[in-house]
């Protein structure tokens, strides 16, 4: 064999070896199923400690993919890949359910722990926690009495004073979808038009970036998830943003504030339903729910302990809010998910994210 051919054979063999190595380094799931695969769009630092604790308690390893976008698209493309889906926004699970990607959970422990309003009727998914899509306002420049409802943010008195992240983000799509279900298309469109007209800057960044903008006097109010107050106050760097702002729960004298629900579900194709159910039951234990609530500052659906001190301070200046406990406007997830396309088209038509 010539030296040229030898080299060619060596190169081909080397590539083949590396490909084989890639299978070994990232091994496929063993037949025993003592490993769970979780597809999630939630923050790694929030979930990983609980997965580790679960593994230590049961010997079942948990491997996760932490996605930013396209959770359901990936599950739809590769439905056998995951045993569980854990999402920050349960609307997505409703979409997954309608696409036949989930299987009903039959766990008496979960049924006992999670209130009915946080369980999908057929058992396809449930929520373990929720948070308000609230209004953050400047402690310095805004009095809580000036605020009332979401729709009031469309009033011209807020012109150039409102901040919000991209309208297409899941959090806002869920909020606008709930408004569409609760108020109808005309009021929702009018709200979005008024909100866009009042924006201080082009929508963008994340929720904490909006609080930071209030701190930096770029705007006076912003639509932000309630738990970010706790997260910001727990970080030395972001503490000033939290201290400069306060949380207002809108619509407390009407239907209540809209909430976002995190959700969990078994995939249709899981081969480890038993182990996956074990993990779900573990996550709704009261002590785990309390730990999760303290870590994420969300409102647990099955916690026993009192709310965290920070959450108890939310809604200060609102007589309707009792130590952080607020009135929730309950909109069925099926309605929110069904409204997504209509909301996206409204945002498209308004060019909501385009520069002002």
């Amino acid at each position: 064999m010539s030296s040229v051919r030898k080299r060619t054979v060596l190169i081909v063999a080397g590539v083949a070896l590396l490909i084989v190595v890639s299978f070994v380094v990232v091994p496929r799931r063993g037949a025993g199923g003592r490993e769970l695969r979780v597809l999630t769009d939630r923050t790694e630092s929030h979930l990983a400690p609980f997965f580790t604790a679960f593994e230590q308690a049961t010997g079942i390893a948990v491997k996760a993919v932490y996605l930013d976008k396209g959770l359901i698209a990936r599950l739809e493309s590769r439905p056998t890949e995951a045993d569980l889906v854990i999402t920050k926004d349960a609307d997505l699970l409703e979409i997954a359910r309608t696409k036949g990607l989930l299987q009903p959970l039959s766990s008496a422990k979960v049924r006992a722990a999670v209130p009915e309003t946080f369980r999908e009727p057929s058992g396809a998914y449930f929520s373990d926690a929720y948070r308000a899509r609230a209004i953050f306002y400047s402690r310095e420049r805004v009095k809580p009495g000036e605020l009332s409802t979401y729709e009031a943010l469309a009033d011209p008195k807020w012109k150039g004073r409102v901040c919000i992240r991209s309208g297409y983000h899941d959090y806002n799509l869920s909020l606008f979808g709930q408004m569409l279900a609760a108020f109808g298309p005309d009021r929702t469109r009018a709200f979005l038009e008024g909100l866009k007209a009042n924006l201080a800057r082009t929508p963008g960044g994340d929720d904490r970036g909006q609080a930071r903008a209030i701190f930096e006097k770029k705007c006076d109010v912003a639509i932000v998830n309630s738990y970010y107050m706790g997260i910001m106050l727990s970080s030395a760097e972001q503490r000033p943003w939290g201290e400069a702002t306060a949380v207002f729960f809108p619509d407390q004298n009407d239907g209540g504030s809209f909430i976002l629900r995190s959700g969990l579900a078994l995939t249709q194709a899981t081969a480890s339903a038993e182990a996956a159910t074990q993990l779900l039951e573990y996550l709704v234990q009261p002590e785990i729910q309390d730990r999760l609530a303290n870590l994420t500052f969300a409102y647990p659906v099955a916690g026993r302990g009192p709310l965290s001190e920070i959450n108890q301070g939310l809604g200060v200046g609102q007589p309707e809010v009792d130590h952080g406990v607020f009135k929730v406007h309950e909109v069925p997830l099926a309605q929110i998910a069904g409204n997504r396309d209509a909301v996206v088209r409204m945002l498209d038509a308004l060019q909501f994210d385009q520069p002002r």
Binding site: L18, R345, D353, Q354
Partner: protein, 523 residues
């Protein structure tokens, strides 16, 4: 005389590698077209084309054109290092490649944190700063290849060497600068992470938004195709500019390149002054941020996690680089030996598809690969790739094989067909001719392409996040996820580690980019 069946078998055997490359490169595109068109309603498509795309295209065009202009404006110092000799020239030349060590989106994060950057003007600046090394690489190579004879003629005409160089010969590098500008615009056009960080709704970001908002991959993919189709225009401009590079004809004629002009006294500081904006914007600003953030967090770093991330990142980049080179080889082989007919057309088509894959935003490519490698049934065709890094490696290599094809094609263009014909007449077969003759000429551009591809794989975010298997986390993907939750500072040590991993390939790229072009004399 050989039998007809033997001849047919030989034809099939020769065409097989090319067909394989064509298939691998074309599959993502075909998948997108078929699945996307089938799943999206006409009404929605009309809505997207009428309402969604026009304002986003305007933003995208501004960002792409602005980035190309900024990159060109910042390249003056680098071009100076290519044609002049002055104190510290090599150091300056190497330093100007440094922005390639960091993902452009991380530069965007640094600018957002440091200057509160938002909007299309900042996006153009950041993308231009990130792309300035490309101008340095391509423009510098063109200037270094300028024939010395031109200068001698001008001097005989009574003109000074330095003045002649700048006034008469620098314009000869314009095609190369045009190629760099087209490449920059193409990269800016399909960029999504930096635009997201700086809150600019370009088509690439809009595609992601539509995709995630509707949880409907086909809608996003169709929009992505629109982005890619427009990107192809820039790609076509890039190819045209590359084909007109001045060094190709001159090198073939065996004309010796010009020597660098020595700058004396205070003039020696001029290239440094010209390069100052690029050094400040592309090196000092991010380096200061990373150093300060790393110093704050260094004690809290989990070394085991960092080591694991680094190992996986290295494995991923190595595999993808090797596979990208392997994909490019049959295309180059076909382009070197097939002079006419249908197979020549196929070779050109394969090169075009490689470019299309490069023009496709990586998010769109990711969707296509998800579709191509289904695992709906465990025993199905996608099952073998289920849970491995291979789909990710495949997508990265398909996306970046164009870099090898482009670099190899430029090297091939330096050779007349006569070289290969002589070898054939002396009894060499095609494979041995390809390896023996072209290796010396293909090796440097292939090494440069490998360094570039390796660096790009190190920094990839979109594909890695979208396609990575369970339990797999690269440095870049982890930092991006932290950046999305306002915690990029917590991962500064990770970014420092990524930059350190990239130093050797970057220096290889810089060294190869700075080398004198070999000149062959066919006479």
């Amino acid at each position: 005389m050989r039998s007809s069946s033997t001849s047919r078998a030989e034809t099939v055997a020769r065409a097989a590698p090319l067909l394989a490359a064509l298939t691998v490169l074309a599959l993502p595109t075909v998948t997108l077209v078929v699945k996307g068109a089938r799943a999206t309603s006409v009404g929605l498509l009309v809505h997207l084309l009428r309402t969604v795309l026009p304002p986003q295209v305007a933003q995208g065009v501004l960002a792409a054109a602005g980035a190309a202009l900024v990159g060109a404006a910042l390249s003056a110092g680098g071009l100076g290092a290519a044609i002049f000799d002055f104190p510290g020239r090599v150091a300056l030349d190497r330093a100007l490649f440094a922005p390639l060590l960091l993902p452009t989106w991380f530069l965007a994060v640094v600018y957002r944190e440091t200057f509160e950057a938002r909007g299309v003007a900042w996006l153009a600046l950041v993308l231009g700063v990130g792309a300035a090394p490309l101008f340095h690489l391509l423009g510098g190579a063109a200037l270094r290849a300028l024939p010395g004879a031109y200068l001698d003629v001008l001097r005989l005409g009574g003109r000074g060497r330095g003045g002649s160089l700048v006034r008469y010969l620098v314009p000869l590098a314009f095609p190369a600068l045009g190629a760099a500008a087209a490449l920059t615009a193409l990269l800016a056009w399909s960029d999504a992470p930096s635009a997201r960080v700086l809150a600019v709704p370009t088509p690439a970001v809009g595609m992601l938004d539509q995709w995630s908002a509707r949880e409907d991959a086909s809608t996003g993919a169709l929009l992505g195709l629109a982005v890619a189709a427009s990107g192809l225009l820039a790609g076509w401009a890039l190819l045209s500019a590359l084909a007109r590079l001045p060094w190709q004809d001159d090198a073939r004629l065996g004309i010796a390149p010009a020597r660098r002009v020595r700058l004396r006294g205070a003039w020696g500081a001029v290239p440094w002054v010209l390069a100052a904006p690029q050094i400040a914007l592309g090196i000092i600003v991010p380096a200061r941020a990373i150093a300060a953030w790393s110093a704050e967090r260094i004690e809290r770093v989990d070394l085991a996690t960092l080591g694991g991330d680094a190992g996986r990142t290295l494995l991923l980049a190595s595999l993808a680089t090797l596979l990208a080179a392997a994909l490019a080889l049959p295309i180059l082989h076909a382009q070197a030996f097939v002079w006419g007919g249908a197979r020549r057309g196929a070779a050109i088509a394969a090169g075009g598809l490689a470019l299309l894959s490069f023009a496709l935003p990586t998010t769109v490519l990711g969707v296509a690969v998800l579709w191509m490698v289904p695992s709906g049934r465990r025993e199905g065709p996608g099952a073998i790739l289920h849970g491995t890094v291979l789909p990710l490696v495949m997508a990265l290599s398909v996306h970046l094989s164009a870099v090898f094809v482009g670099a190899g094609r430029a090297a091939l263009l330096r050779h007349g067909r006569g070289h290969l014909e002589v070898l054939r007449l002396t009894g060499h077969d095609r494979l041995s001719s390809f390896v023996a003759l072209l290796r010396p000429f293909l090796a440097p551009p292939a090494a440069a392409a490998a360094a570039f591809v390796f660096l790009e794989c190190l920094k990839d975010v979109d594909l890695t996040v979208m396609l990575s298997p369970f339990g797999f986390q690269s440095i870049s993907a982890r930092v991006f996820q932290f950046a999305l939750t306002n915690r990029a500072r917590d991962c500064a040590v990770w970014m420092l580690c990524l930059a350190l991993i990239g130093v050797y390939p970057l220096m290889t790229l810089a060294r190869l980019g700075d080398r004198e072009e070999p000149v062959t004399d066919p006479c």
